[in-house]
Symmetry: none
Subunit: 415 residues, 2 copies
């Protein structure tokens, strides 16, 4: 029903969707009771909402504390309650690993296994050193399956299995508490038996490698806990997502600094645009990112941009840094204010990350939609409070349909 079959009609517009990661906030004492977004100097976003419409979006559904993965899936019209099988593949993509169709991925912890065979510390003393070397040592082939491990923060890592006929219907090796041995992997369905067997072989093989590794010998001689066990959990397959262009009829591109978001968009068959100076950190070059996105509109119908900054500052618990990075984004949006005659511009968040809370919350996110000669409403500034006067109250899963309708790109439903 929402296929873009009027794409080549005159006056039809392209769509630019900017996701400011973790945008929503809560009042901050450090900002006189305002949110970071309220406190930011944001003339461009205010221009866009004042000349367009504003409101609130509920990521996934009302009151859900959405992750960036589930929320981006939902925003792009792929219901996570259907396509999301587990965090494993998204954590792995987040570490820059390639997770393709048919691969199985796990979240992993380096842990300490005592001589008794029991886990004495699930986090191997929260390792501060890079485990890159360890990860490379245990990335190997076992039973025709390629196992790839990459380090995350501290004791965390991800494991991806590349091979044929793999299944994610297997249990965790992680006993989820210390004082117990690592668990054998078991298949929860018959067709996963081979996957479980090869996983058990692999985990047995790497125990010896980890025990003997110089990294761990050094740790022990320095009185630290060795990282001699890899506990795995949250098995998931890369979701088999319908190609974005065949779903909507739109040639699409993604400009994102963080691998998890590009990974999701790649699974949808989008073109991945690498803009200069983009880091996925607070120092990312937003001018470059927005100008790459605008350029990409020349040969794409739909461009999605993710700016990770607000989420990082939110997780850091720093409402001032969050305000500052929002101001820097707004400054780059100067490039957008003259595009309304040919582009539908929407700016929103994938979830709230209030700096005062330091994690994702279930609060809704502000949203604006602007295009020349489009609807206007009573939202006069772009923030959590003023947008509550706007017209939009929308579930993330309905956003694509709404944007397509604003761009006059879809066929009439009925006569």
């Amino acid at each position: 029903m929402i296929y873009a079959n009027r794409l080549h009609h005159e006056g039809v517009k392209k769509i630019l969707l900017i996701i400011m990661d973790g945008l929503g906030g809560r009042p901050s004492g450090l900002l006189g009771g305002r949110t970071s977004l309220q406190a930011a100097y944001r003339p461009n976003m205010n221009f866009l909402v004042r000349n367009g419409i504003g409101g609130l979006m509920y990521p996934v559904s009302q009151g859900i504390r959405a992750g960036s993965d589930t929320s981006h899936l939902s925003i792009l019209g792929y219901d996570p309650r259907v396509v999301y099988t587990g965090r494993g593949p998204f954590e792995a993509m987040g570490l820059g690993m390639d997770v393709s169709k048919g691969d199985v991925a796990f979240r992993a912890n380096f842990a300490t296994r005592a001589d008794s065979g029991f886990i004495s510390d699930r986090r191997a003393g929260r390792i501060q050193e890079s485990t890159d070397e360890l990860c490379r040592a245990i990335s190997l082939n076992v039973g025709g399956v390629t196992f790839e491990v990459k380090p995350g923060v501290e004791h965390r890592a991800a494991l991806v299995m590349h091979g044929d006929h793999l299944s994610s219907r297997v249990s965790d090796s992680d006993p989820h508490e210390a004082g117990k041995p690592p668990l054998d992997i078991t298949a929860t369905v018959d067709s996963a038996k081979r996957t479980a067997n090869v996983l058990n072989q692999y985990l047995e093989r790497i125990r010896k490698i980890l025990d003997d590794h110089p990294f761990n010998r050094d740790r022990v001689s320095n009185g630290k806990l060795p990282a001699n066990e890899l506990l795995i959990r949250g098995a998931g397959m890369a979701p088999d997502l319908q190609d974005f262009q065949s779903k909507y009829g739109l040639r699409a591109a993604c400009v994102a600094g963080i691998p998890m978001i590009s990974g999701i968009c790649k699974l949808m068959g989008m073109d991945i645009i690498h803009a200069k100076g983009v880091t996925g950190r607070l120092d990312s070059d937003y001018e470059s990112k927005i100008s790459s996105a605008v350029k990409s509109l020349d040969n794409h119908d739909f461009v999605i941009v993710n700016l990770k900054g607000p989420d990082i500052a939110g997780h850091d618990g720093n409402p001032l840094a969050k305000r500052d990075v929002i101001e820097r984004a707004d400054s780059a949006y100067r490039q957008l204010v003259s595009l309304g005659h040919r582009v539908v511009i929407s700016i929103t968040g994938d979830h709230s990350t209030p700096a005062e809370y330091g994690d994702h919350s279930g609060d809704p996110v502000p949203i604006l939609i602007y295009t020349e000669n489009g609807r206007k409403d009573c939202a006069k500034r772009f923030d959590e409070v003023s947008c509550s006067r706007g017209s939009l109250r929308i579930l993330s899963g309905d956003l694509m349909q709404y944007l397509l309708s604003v761009s006059d790109i879809t066929e009439k439903y009925g006569a």
Copy 2:
């Protein structure tokens, strides 16, 4: 997905949900075109919404004229379209009867059966005297089933069957119009045949008791219609509701003046708190009720309070009495304004009962959610009009999820 698995984390808050029964109204000529809520002096509710968020809630769904039973089920996250099998058990609970799992309950009318065996008046002349004595006379054991009858208003009553292997899949004895005989109960499925048989035996047995009862002899000699037939309808089973604590992970309590609401909460396994001076009428002691609720938060994670007053005044068609009882509630809410650091407070209605209309309407109800350091919006006063400037537009079935997210009590969905 909305299970409270972060319950023991620091900063997680408890939840107090106050349902002002029938709260929503319509403009009243007697109040200068204002609703009873707009006309009420309500500094405490205004404080809570001004420092929190406001909006409108749709009981069950938009435009539904919800009952208190269906609405409370929905508000607590039990979809009445799934769990609600009929009014019988809720009417019976409303009369203070114990309806447990496996019981079958009916709405009942005392009616007049003429010598011909036909019903001459379905309401036995709208009896004004108490039928308590009659009800006791026809509460008895037949065929291993205990039949219990309790009086309602005028000619109304409820019948509960306590026994094994009962079924609610049986027809009414009520012919729903005068000039017809009472109908035989029939089973609509095979497994209900025993229930139908024992019901027919019971109804036959009590005809003689009612015919001969002094209450009816007196009525006849005074020229009144005898209440010599019990017409039953709306068979339903007590719904088999998932335990609230296993559903949400929250220890919960209920403070309610009316038996129907405590009955519903009891079916969910909540603790029922009996506050002093609570009557379920307009004169109920709201100070006592609110202080009991606040005390209950010490050893519960979630407390629901029902204040029946606004609904009673609404049904009475008295917008001034409705205003006054709302003012009395607001005065008791003085106890709440300092709790925001440890409690998420939400005040709303289960449905609208506009006094000008005198019954439940399908209008949405105002809602507020307040906690310290939580979101704010543009709702500045707590009433039907000002709340329409607030951020919330919520279906009752999504409220629990929303409240849990405001209390930061649930796990993240995704990464």
